[in-house]
C-alpha cells in the first residue's frame, strides 16, 4: 500500500475550506509550495482564498505544532498533523500551552516522508516511527497498519553497545561541529522558553562562541529539558545545517524515561509530563 498524497492534499484543502467557511477556526496551519515542489513551507491559511495554496506531499516534514505557541491564547486553530506532530500537540496541551478546545486537529496517517535537504526517506531511525496520528478530530486518509521497519529505539542499540570512551569521542566530534545557529531549538515544538537558558547572562550557563564546552553545555541541558517531553519528530536533526544526530540523544533520553517512569511523551492528554510528576513508589533503583 502506498500513500496517496494527492488525495490527502485534496481532503486537507476541503477540510480547511469547510472550517474557515463555518468560522470554526481563524487560522489553518498547513503547508504550501516553497521555491520548488520539493521544498514545501509551513503555511498559515487565514482566508478561504488562501486554501488553494495548501499542498501536501512527501516533503512536508515540518512539525506544525511548533507554530501553535506563537498565537495568542484562545485563537481557534486547525492544524495539520502527522503522527509525531500529533504527539507534540498532545504534549503542548499537557503543558497547558494550548487548550484542547481551541484546536481542531487534522490528522494525517503517513509514512515514507522524505527529507527535503537530502531527498532520503525518513524512517523510524530518526523519528518515532508511528504511522497514525495519536490525537485527531478529522482523519485525512486511511489508517496505516503495520509495524515500523526499525523499532523506534532500535537505532540506539549500536551506540549503547560501544564503550563509553568511544561514545564520548563520538559526541565530542559531533558537538564540535555545532555552529550555534539554534535551529534545533527553534525547530523544536517543545522548545518555547523565552529566554532560553543559554541566552541568560546571569547566571551564564554557557559561552556564546561555538567551542566544544559551550556546545556541550547547550546540548546536554537541552536534552535534559526535553526529557520526557521530546516526541521524537526528528525536526531538530533535520533542521541542523551541520547534521548533528541530535535525534539519537533524544531517543536515548526518551527511552530511559519510558523505561523508568512507564510513560511515553505525548500519548495522552490526561498524562502529566514525567519530570513535573512523581510517584511515591518510584524505585530508588532508577538512580543506580
Amino acid at each position: 500500500m502506498s500513500i496517496n498524497f494527492k488525495k490527502i492534499e485534496d481532503s486537507l484543502k476541503a477540510e480547511a475550506k469547510k472550517l474557515l467557511e463555518e468560522g470554526k477556526v481563524s487560522i489553518v496551519l498547513a503547508y504550501k509550495k516553497g521555491y520548488d515542489d520539493k521544498h514545501p513551507m509551513p503555511y498559515v491559511a487565514r482566508k478561504i482564498s488562501d486554501v488553494e495554496n495548501i499542498v501536501f506531499n512527501e516533503y512536508c516534514t515540518a512539525n506544525m505544532a511548533r507554530y501553535l505557541v506563537r498565537y495568542p491564547r484562545g485563537t481557534k486553530i486547525a492544524i495539520a498533523v502527522k503522527a509525531s506532530d500529533s504527539r507534540a500537540v498532545i504534549q503542548l496541551i499537557q503543558e497547558d500551552k494550548v487548550k484542547r478546545e481551541d484546536l481542531i486537529v487534522l490528522g494525517i496517517p503517513v509514512y515514507g516522508m522524505k527529507n527535503f535537504k537530502t531527498g532520503k526517506t525518513i524512517d523510524s531511525k530518526t523519528t518515532c516511527g508511528i504511522y497514525n496520528p495519536v490525537l485527531y478530530d478529522v482523519l485525512l486518509g486511511e489508517e496505516v497498519h503495520g509495524q515500523p521497519v526499525v523499532p523506534p529505539y532500535g537505532v540506539l542499540i549500536e551506540y549503547e553497545k560501544i564503550d563509553k570512551d568511544a561514545r564520548w569521542a563520538f559526541w565530542e566530534k559531533e558537538f564540535d561541529r555545532c555552529i550555534r545557529c539554534y535551529a534545533c531549538r527553534k525547530a523544536c515544538p517543545m522548545c518555547y522558553c523565552d529566554p532560553c537558558f543559554i541566552d541568560q547572562n546571569k547566571p551564564k550557563w554557557g559561552e556564546k562562541s561555538p567551542e566544544s564546552h559551550g556546545n556541550l553545555m547547550y546540548h546536554l541541558t537541552r536534552f535534559h529539558h526535553l526529557a520526557g517531553r521530546c516526541i521524537d519528530c526528528g525536526e531538530c536533526s533535520r533542521a541542523c545545517p551541520v547534521d548533528i544526530p541530535l535525534y539519537l540523544f533524544h531517543k536515548k533520553v526518551a527511552k530511559e524515561c519510558e523505561e523508568m517512569f512507564g510513560q511515553a511523551a505525548g500519548m495522552s492528554i490526561e498524562d502529566k509530563p514525567v519530570l513535573v510528576n512523581f510517584r511515591v513508589d518510584d524505585s530508588d533503583k532508577i538512580l543506580e
Binding site: 553545555m217 535534559h224 533520553v253 530511559e256 513535573v276 511515591v280 518510584d282 538512580l287
Partner: protein, 145 residues
C-alpha cells in the same frame, strides 16, 4: 603523586547537610576531597549544576537529600529523584562513567552514613582516575603568552 579527586557535594539543608554536621561533631573521619555546596532542597539542583561541575573540573559529584517521604517540603526529593535519574542517564550516554555521579538519601541523624558514603565514593572516584572528558581546557594564563 597519588591522584586526589575533586568531588563536589551538593547537600540538602535539612538532612544531608545537617548529617554532615553531625559527622563532624562526632569526629568521624572521612576524606577531605569533598567540597560541599548547601542547597535548600535536593529538587533545587539544576542539572546544569552537575554538567557545569564536571566542566569546571570536578572528578565526581555527590548529591545528598532527605529520604523519600521525609522532605522538608514534602515532595521536593521525589521530583529530584526523577530528575537526577535522567541526569545520570544523560551523563552516561554522553560517555561519563556512571560511578562519577551519585545520589544518596542521608538524614540529619545519619552522620555515620554520610562519612561512609563519602569514604566509599571518594575511593570509587579515585579508582576511576581524573575526569577529563567534560573538563574545559583552561585559557593560557597571561604569563604564558
Amino acid at each position: 603523586m597519588l591522584f586526589e579527586p575533586k568531588i563536589l557535594g551538593i547537600a540538602c539543608n535539612w538532612c544531608t547537610y545537617t548529617g554532615a554536621d553531625l559527622a563532624g561533631t562526632t569526629r568521624l573521619q572521612y576524606p577531605q576531597n569533598l567540597r560541599v555546596v548547601r542547597v535548600m532542597c535536593s529538587s533545587r539542583i539544576n542539572p546544569s549544576f552537575i554538567f557545569r561541575a564536571f566542566q569546571l573540573g570536578a572528578d565526581g559529584v555527590l548529591v545528598g537529600g532527605c529520604h523519600p517521604g521525609d522532605c522538608h517540603y514534602n515532595t521536593g526529593n521525589l521530583y529530584a529523584r526523577r530528575r537526577l535519574a535522567v541526569t545520570k542517564k544523560i551523563l552516561e550516554f554522553a560517555g561519563i562513567e556512571p560511578g562519577r555521579f551519585r545520589v544518596e538519601w542521608i538524614s540529619a541523624s545519619e552522620g555515620n552514613k554520610f562519612a561512609e558514603v563519602v569514604t566509599e565514593f571518594t575511593k570509587q572516584v579515585k579508582n576511576l582516575g581524573p575526569q577529563t572528558k567534560f573538563k574545559i581546557e583552561q585559557q593560557p594564563s597571561l604569563e604564558k603568552i
